[in-house]
């Protein structure tokens, strides 16, 4: 749904730009394409990794790892699974809801969702291309540690 909105806004702005200045618009499209072309090889690698990961780690496997009573070990596992997987939100949330129903705790789900969003092991090579090794590793590491705090608070408030 949100992608339609994004398309709508993009088309309106693009038309506006076109009527104002054709040359500039052509330049904008060229720049957009160049930025895309620059990073496409890395994107493709990420997509293949995601394919392998999702093939190995289906919801059943994940819920076995972070099921009921798995405690802090389960939280750590959930954080690790969340860090290495890259699942779009519209798959992740229903999956998380399923895992909850299957008996996982809120704390584990909190760690899973938080790391899923903030930590991207698979995309680290892409991130390094833009932010360098140090900043990329630091950002992911901090986000990983922070996710345990998120998990703890969610476990306290919701669980």
């Amino acid at each position: 749904m949100d992608s339609y909105l994004l398309y709508g806004i993009t088309i309106v702005l693009l038309l506006l730009s076109f009527f104002k200045d054709r040359k500039k618009t052509r330049m904008a499209l060229k720049k957009g394409w160049k930025a895309f072309d620059n990073i496409l090889p890395q994107f493709l690698v990420v997509i293949l990794f995601v394919g392998v990961m999702l093939a190995v780690l289906d919801p059943q496997t994940i819920s076995r790892l972070i099921g009921k009573g798995s405690g802090w070990v389960g939280v750590i596992l959930a954080a690790m699974v969340g860090s290495i997987t890259l699942i779009p939100g519209f798959v992740a949330f229903p999956t998380a809801a399923l895992i909850l129903q299957a008996g996982a705790g809120y704390m584990q789900i909190g760690a899973f969702i938080s790391t899923l969003m903030m930590v991207g092991v698979v995309t680290i090579p892409v991130e390094i291309k833009y932010f360098g090794k140090k900043m990329t590793l630091l950002r992911n590491l901090m986000a990983f540690i922070f996710s345990f705090f998120v998990a703890y608070v969610i476990g306290r408030v919701v669980g």
């Binding site: 993009t10 930025a35 994107f43 394919g51 939100g89 998380a96 969702i113 892409v126 291309k129 932010f131």
Partner: protein
């Protein structure tokens, strides 16, 4: 041609590995390829507007106004704008990196770039709605309330931990990575 192979060598290597994997475990190999194909189609659907907007931003928005609203010393205004733009985004996190390269090119401060990345990863509005539906309001609200200060703190820490030299290098690199000159 040789150049092409060189650029896509990572892709080819991983692809070959999946091929090898398929020999040992057909099911997983086929599943991996079909999921990858599906994500590829998804990417082709979601990503083009992001890059068109990035191009338009690069061409139309003058550096001075980006610096004024989101640069060093833009204060709370810059923080809020970065949070808002990141939250209004769509697409996977890796699509945020090229956008942040254009931000850096335009003089957005490093901490604001990091806040933008944080918001893109955790507070995207369409995703949050979806989270409300799937996991309930208490879960989604709690996560948001913890995450928003969290991404700001992480961003400020990252900006502190990077030396001036390192951050300058990242900005110089962004000129190349963004969309060229």
């Amino acid at each position: 041609m040789v150049n092409m192979i060189k650029r896509y060598r990572g892709f080819l290597i991983v692809f070959a590995c999946i091929g090898l994997l398929s020999i040992f475990n057909r099911d997983i190999g086929i599943k991996a390829i079909s999921i990858s194909a599906r994500s590829f189609v998804e990417m082709l659907f979601i990503i083009p507007p992001v890059f068109v907007l990035l191009g338009l931003l690069d061409v139309w928005v003058p550096r001075e106004s980006m610096v004024k609203y989101m640069g060093e010393g833009s204060g709370l205004k810059g923080v809020l704008l970065s949070l808002f733009i990141g939250s209004a985004a769509a697409g996977p996190l890796y699509a945020a990196f090229p956008v942040s390269a254009v931000f850096m090119k335009k003089g957005v401060s490093f901490s604001n770039v990091m806040i933008f990345i944080g918001a893109w990863s955790t507070t995207k509005i369409p995703m949050v709605f979806f989270e409300f539906e799937s996991l309930g309001a208490p879960f989604a609200l709690t996560r948001l309330l913890v995450d928003i200060p969290g991404i700001i703190i992480i961003a400020l820490l990252l900006a502190k931990l990077g030396s001036r030299e390192e951050i300058r290098e990242i900005y110089e690199n962004a000129e190349k990575m963004g969309s060229g000159s």
